[in-house]
Symmetry: C2
Subunit: 199 residues, 2 copies
Amino acid sequence: MGILERRIRQKENMRTTILAVALQQVKDEGWQSLSIRKIADAIEYSVPVIYDHFENKEAILFELSLDGFRLLERSLEKNKKKYPDPTERLKAHAETYWNFAFKNPEYYQLMYGLGMPCCGAGKMKPEFNSFRKYIGEAIEGIVKNKKSDDSETCFKIYAFWSVLHGLISIVMMRCSDIDDSTMNKKVMDDTVEAFIKNL
Amino acid sequence: MGILERRIRQKENMRTTILAVALQQVKDEGWQSLSIRKIADAIEYSVPVIYDHFENKEAILFELSLDGFRLLERSLEKNKKKYPDPTERLKAHAETYWNFAFKNPEYYQLMYGLGMPCCGAGKMKPEFNSFRKYIGEAIEGIVKNKKSDDSETCFKIYAFWSVLHGLISIVMMRCSDIDDSTMNKKVMDDTVEAFIKNL
DNA sequence: AGTTTTACCTAACGGCGTTAGCAAAGGTAG
DNA sequence: CTACCTTTGCTAACGCCGTTAGGTAAAACT
């Protein structure tokens, strides 16, 4: 008797629909605007039905971010086949990663917990300038003897800043699997060292 | 007559108190738990009083993150005086930046909009592993001819990942002041290139 | 047929940000 | 001292939110 199977299928369907509707809502209005009530509205069921399929709102976001990881993984897998040369492959990985982030910003934000409802996303630019200035001055001081170029320096400031911020936010969000905090610091010291050597 | 001045002073005081109490709440229970009502409770005034001093909740968070920037700036300023040698100064900047982030995580999260209520801060570790695997394999492929060390590779994976994620999240959060998106991509390509050269 | 399980809903709880409208206190001028 | 105005602060509400208790009607099973 296929009744049970149909039931399971329907349940699975509902679950998928909820996730799809949720993702659409995040895409349309940002993850902050996502609400259980709006999802219920979109799937034309009452609110408690959602809770038959997900423990709570966070579980929905969690599942969505898993989808994000799977999507990214599939893209990286392709590079493995397409680029046998490891250098080319690493470059392709970077490209893939970058493209994934900007083609699916809602996924990327979900995966890394980006996007607090403060700091107004952009209103802060001037505040970052003083920081950039300090880094820029030091870099120009080091690089003076070589041929110095303005846009070059700008690039290097960004690179430096990115390494710092990237490491910090990965550790802070507990994505790092290095448990020793001094180890994490050492990764930063090493990377900064390498960065300077490469100036 | 100092009445007006006293009033201004009192108003200023109230404002400062609100910010202090808000920061404490963020420190105690995370920024997600911060609420106007709890602030009002803590300062022993009714809720609408808050709105005499701040336009809305976001304005409070914004002001707090400005405090964060000022704090960071002051620390960097000290390095300028203490380390005349630019290389030493740049290293000190990195150190300062790192320390600031982990001594004041609530500030850092505010400044960069970190910390969505999903992805469960840490629950995701396994999900990142596949990504690390792909990067790691490519790096080991490149570095094979030289002396290869396990922990070395691990470090390099983190460094690579950090550069990518750092750049992406800075651009995504619109902290970048480069408006041309192809420029941002070029910064990444350059940095990846430099990273590979340095392997 | 009656009985149990499932699907689904209404209605509520307690919390949130925000605002309208009112009362009291503080200060000013006659 | 009185009349007035401004500031200060409150209560109460609006419309959201996530989550859950409890009930009803249909579906499936015996």
